[in-house]
């Protein structure tokens, strides 16, 4: 099985809604590779509402989303 490339987006401490806008931009930039399963996007955020908005948007685009609390922040993993 081929290893997936991880794209790490660190949005900790940034202004709202930078997290969602940047995540959407990166998803669109890597749309083809995401769909082929070559890449996984990991968004790290301290914004609680981003745990609603990012999964909602990514799931609506047909991606798989897993959210996990890691220490004091949240990791949102987006893959196909």
């Amino acid at each position: 099985m081929k290893n997936k490339e991880m794209i790490d987006i660190d949005m900790l401490g940034q202004v709202c809604p930078a997290c969602l806008l940047v995540a959407l931009k990166v998803i669109n930039e890597h749309r083809e590779r995401l769909k082929k399963g070559e890449v996984e996007i990991v968004v790290r955020t301290d914004h609680r509402d981003a745990t609603r908005t990012i999964p909602q948007s990514a799931e609506a685009m047909g991606y798989r989303v897993v959210v996990e609390k890691v220490k004091t922040c949240y990791e949102i993993r987006i893959s196909s």
């Binding site: 401490g13 806008l21 940047v22 301290d46 609680r48 509402d49 745990t51 948007s57 609390k69 004091t72």
Partner: protein, 369 residues
């Protein structure tokens, strides 16, 4: 049941502030986000809950008035609308989006360790101090461009107000039931202890009614920020402070029996300290403790430079807009819409336009995405 003991009002509003801090932190009930995301992302999730909040507030305020339990109707902090309500509302709307939070959002986010919002907080204090220098000019403008002769729709016609409340609540209920069918109230987030927005709306409406019943008028906050600035200015530049008119003229005065209770932005313990500074401290403590409880408190460092500048500038615009319009979103959205105040309707309309403009600036200039 209006309480005249300022220390008791301080304690009660502080307690309400703590509960408010817990509620808004858990639900991430960001009003800047509600308006911004509706335009920027076509996401109406939080705005729907605000619609619910306004409908509940309208019913609660009107019923409480009919029962004769409200101390003042309209509250003494409300006045005739002015064209400056529009100007201030627009500036406020742009500011809250650039700062990443309104006057309440800034508090609960900075209490969890977010430095962007701490910068926004200092922007609000700085903006309040700058406004203080120009207060006579803007105060004159507000009075010059005042319009109408009535503060609320009830003032104009109690019958029209009753009909408006009835129709608004009826139509809203139909809409709410449709949204329920579509599952719009069942909002899902993965944050620990997440409180659904409709529950937050209900809790905040009840807290606001309690504040109104016990301490004279619904929640307000921005004069409290100005008062914090006044203490700072009195400490750093006492000579200059003593000459600033804004800090030496009360913004509210109430006769209760043979007693006159006054309050303003000056560095003194008065009704504004009891009403508003107490809320600020309460929200900070409530949200700080909640962030500790959910193990989310952490300082992640400064944001990128453009966001830092945006947060500070936005904070200053929040303060300026609120002072020019004689109130902020807490006063006019959380209180004024439920009271059907003309000032509130004008402020909120302009604030909505400001949030739209702020969203474009944030996206194109600050974040460049």
């Amino acid at each position: 049941m209006f309480i005249t003991n300022l220390y008791l009002i301080f304690f009660l509003n502080f307690s309400m502030g703590v509960l408010l801090g817990i509620t808004i932190y858990r639900s991430d009930y960001c009003m800047a986000g509600m308006f911004r995301d509706a335009f920027l992302l076509r996401d109406f999730t939080l705005l729907r809950s605000l619609h619910l909040f306004v409908a509940i507030s309208m019913v609660l305020f009107f019923t409480a008035h009919l029962m004769g339990v409200l101390p003042f109707y309209p509250p003494p902090t409300y006045s005739l609308p002015s064209l400056m309500s529009l100007a201030g509302g627009f500036v406020f709307g742009v500011g809250m989006v650039l700062a990443g939070g309104c006057v309440v959002g800034t508090l609960y986010k900075m209490a969890s360790g977010n430095l962007t919002n701490l910068i926004g907080f200092f922007g609000i204090i700085t903006g309040s101090l700058l406004y203080a220098e120009m207060h006579p000019f803007f105060s004159h403008l507000y009075k010059t461009y005042q319009i109408g002769r009535h503060i609320t729709l009830y003032d104009l016609s109690p019958l029209a107000a009753a009909a408006f409340v009835g129709i608004f609540v009826l139509l809203s209920t139909v809409v709410f039931l449709r949204w329920k069918k579509k599952g719009f109230w069942d909002v899902r987030a993965y944050a620990v202890g997440y409180l659904k927005p409709w529950k937050a709306a209900l809790i905040i409406a009840i807290l606001n009614l309690l504040v109104y019943l016990l301490s004279g008028w619904p929640m307000g906050i921005t004069t409290g920020y100005a008062k914090l600035g006044a203490y700072l200015e009195r400490y750093l530049a006492p000579g200059h402070y003593s000459h600033v008119l804004f800090f030496h003229s009360p913004s509210v005065g109430i006769h209760t029996g043979d007693r006159l209770i006054t309050g303003g932005a000056g560095a003194a313990f008065d009704i504004i300290t009891a009403q508003e500074v107490s809320l600020i401290v309460g929200i900070l403590i409530g949200s700080f403790l909640t962030s500790l409880y959910y193990r989310e408190f952490r300082i992640y460092g400064l944001p990128p430079l453009r966001q830092t500048i945006s947060a500070f500038t936005g904070g200053m615009m929040i303060a300026f807009g609120a002072r020019v319009a004689s109130g902020c979103n807490v006063k006019f959205v959380l209180g004024g819409l439920g009271l059907i105040s003309f000032q509130a309707i004008m402020f909120v309309s302009a604030m909505t336009a400001g949030a739209y403009a702020g969203g474009i600036i944030l996206k194109k200039v600050v974040l460049r995405v």
